[in-house]
Symmetry: C2
């Protein structure tokens, strides 16, 4: 193995679905790596470069270091069960809660209606399961404000106030030519992001919004509004971190509901999950013989990706999987079986825990 | 006087600010005249052709005749004191209340903010005076639902639900290229217009919205939404009547805040009102002599217009003023003085009554 090739060897260097460096140049997202050493207690997404970019995260580092007040906000669009994407965000928010952040978790039922035509009554039912999940994953409801978008009047008031300063040109540039409801829900989301800074919650404070990189337009839109209403409300521009997105299990460009083999939810039948992992696109070679000789290509492997992103907590264990694959020590069949075991154990455990939180979730959301 | 000229003589035939017949053809507004004889107890605006057009007013006639449930809704944008435009609408709503309508009066503070940048706190103060006025004019608060737009969640919920079915193309066609807040306030107004049909108020029912003809785009927009959400909410398409608009007192095309000599509020100093009427554009002749000989032209006279629209209740008295003017029996100076006396008496009386309703208005609007 030449020196150059060795330099490229990196268990966290998963092939990216797009050229992230473009984001640094074109949109002003900053690389996360440079901040890593300053973070008191980085989580596995940070350590592994899954969180690769940020805006104004320095403010959050300072707050964490100096034990000053800060907030985290994230949420879920209640259109279905938890999947790996919502799992990631939930874990990020739980991490920041554990680091001392005032925690806000939003059920985006307005967005679910405007964007996906899910009636509010249906969102409510789905949300109960979602909230039970996030509690089962470790969110402490006593230290969190969990709310339904449609019932949170402060958010709607913010949206109403912000709307006056949003030109049609701006919103079209970000969201394209859509129905007015979609624009309305974009404003609502800006209201969510700034809710932790509402006077009812103690006013302006650094706030971290951990998102997938595809969500950055919302952040730019909201930061722009925060600037416009700085004098009126004293807003501090919200900070954000950006995590990478995994390709679909079937090798498609992204995990998507439209493509059921590309992803699984955390509550689908174990046999279905196992089947999807069994059929997953990997970095394997055409024959076992070749793979033993040449090794696999974990960088392009969706099974490696879900292990690295979600299911192996110990960095050393991930590094071992990486080198075992790379060296041909482990081949795809064995690796898939191992992964299935881990995933099914995880979902079984989550399922059991979640049951205990259903009543609590109903209570929080005030659903009968 | 030839036969033809005589046929044109009509105390209600005031020169119109635009060609209303176009509205019948292009927009489907129907002439009001044909319904007049079927209305149990027409008001002076109806009798005098000031209300000249309608949509679906037949439904309201039926409800009035058969003593069936119907509603009336109107409102005020709290940007200043009552003037002749808001006075007209207030009188129309009071008329329908007296005919048995469930009555809704909306303070459009969201619109005042989005369209005129009036902060909500300021709107609230202005609204107290406005509501005291409408009570002083005779609205019975015990039989009316008077509300602030920004505090009425059912209206905002309607707006949110409607938004999804409003394309950018539609709203741009009606309102032009505006900020998103303005579009939002248009949706809120649709929510207002359909509020009387909300299940909390007994569900679908004929509703009359009396407006100036310039407000028809809102009606068309709302009727379109009522149709789109008919299945979901059972809406009956709202009915409307259209009244003519008076030209500015100074002869400008319309009464407008931008042009203070064109109008007066009902609470400005008597001397100021008197001055504006004294300087008003009339249908007088260059000399007194000519006017005695040829008569005046009430059809183009703004002083005649405010008498006919607002200040003389008895039809016979209006007809007399018309023929006195037409025949040269009365000339402008005398007529203006008479008008000033009537108007100042009216505003003095209103001012006194209004004082007694300020506390009630505060209570209704929940303003401290």
């Amino acid at each position: 193995m030449g020196k150059e090739e060795k330099a490229r060897l990196d268990p966290w260097g998963i092939t990216e679905i797009e050229d992230y460096s473009r984001l640094y140049k074109d949109f002003g997202i900053k690389p996360f790596k440079q901040l890593l050493s300053k973070i008191p207690n980085p989580n596995m997404f940070m350590r592994r470069g899954i969180i690769f970019g940020h805006r104004d995260f320095e403010k959050i580092v300072e707050a964490m270091k100096n034990k000053e007040e800060f907030a985290v906000l994230s949420g879920i669009k209640p259109t279905g069960e938890f999947h790996l994407g919502t799992l990631m965000t939930a874990r990020e928010i739980i991490y920041f809660q554990n680091q001392g952040a005032k925690t806000f978790y939003c059920v985006a039922d307005i967005e679910a209606y405007e964007d996906n035509n899910i009636p509010f009554e249906k969102s409510e039912k789905i949300a109960v399961g979602n909230i039970a999940d996030v509690l089962a994953l470790g969110l402490d409801p006593k230290k969190a404000y969990i709310y339904m978008q449609s019932k949170e009047m402060r958010v709607r008031n913010f949206a109403m106030i912000f709307a006056r300063k949003v030109t049609l040109a701006t919103i079209k540039a970000i969201y394209g030519e859509r129905n007015i409801g979609l624009y309305f829900s974009a404003l609502i989301q800006a209201g969510d992001i700034l809710l932790p800074q509402h006077e009812d919650f103690g006013g302006p404070k650094p706030t971290i919004i951990p998102v997938g990189v595809d969500q950055d337009p919302h952040l730019r839109f909201t930061r722009d509004l925060a600037q416009k209403f700085k004098r009126k409300f004293g807003f501090i521009l919200p900070s954000s971190t950006y995590h990478k997105l995994i390709k679909g299990l079937d090798g498609s460009p992204k995990m998507s509901k439209r493509n059921p083999m590309s992803y699984f939810t955390l509550h689908e039948p174990p046999a279905s999950i196992a089947k999807k992992i069994s059929n997953a696109f990997t970095g394997g070679r055409p024959t076992v013989k070749e793979q033993r000789e040449l090794g696999g290509i974990p960088e392009v492997c969706s099974v490696y990706a879900i292990n690295m992103f979600h299911f192996i907590e110990d960095d050393k264990e991930v590094a071992k999987l990486y080198s075992d694959c790379k060296s041909g020590n482990i081949i795809c069949g064995e690796c898939k079986q191992k992964t299935i075991d881990i995933v099914l154990k995880f979902v079984k455990n989550l399922e059991e825990k979640r049951k205990k939180y259903i009543d609590k979730a109903r209570e929080i959301l005030q659903v009968e």
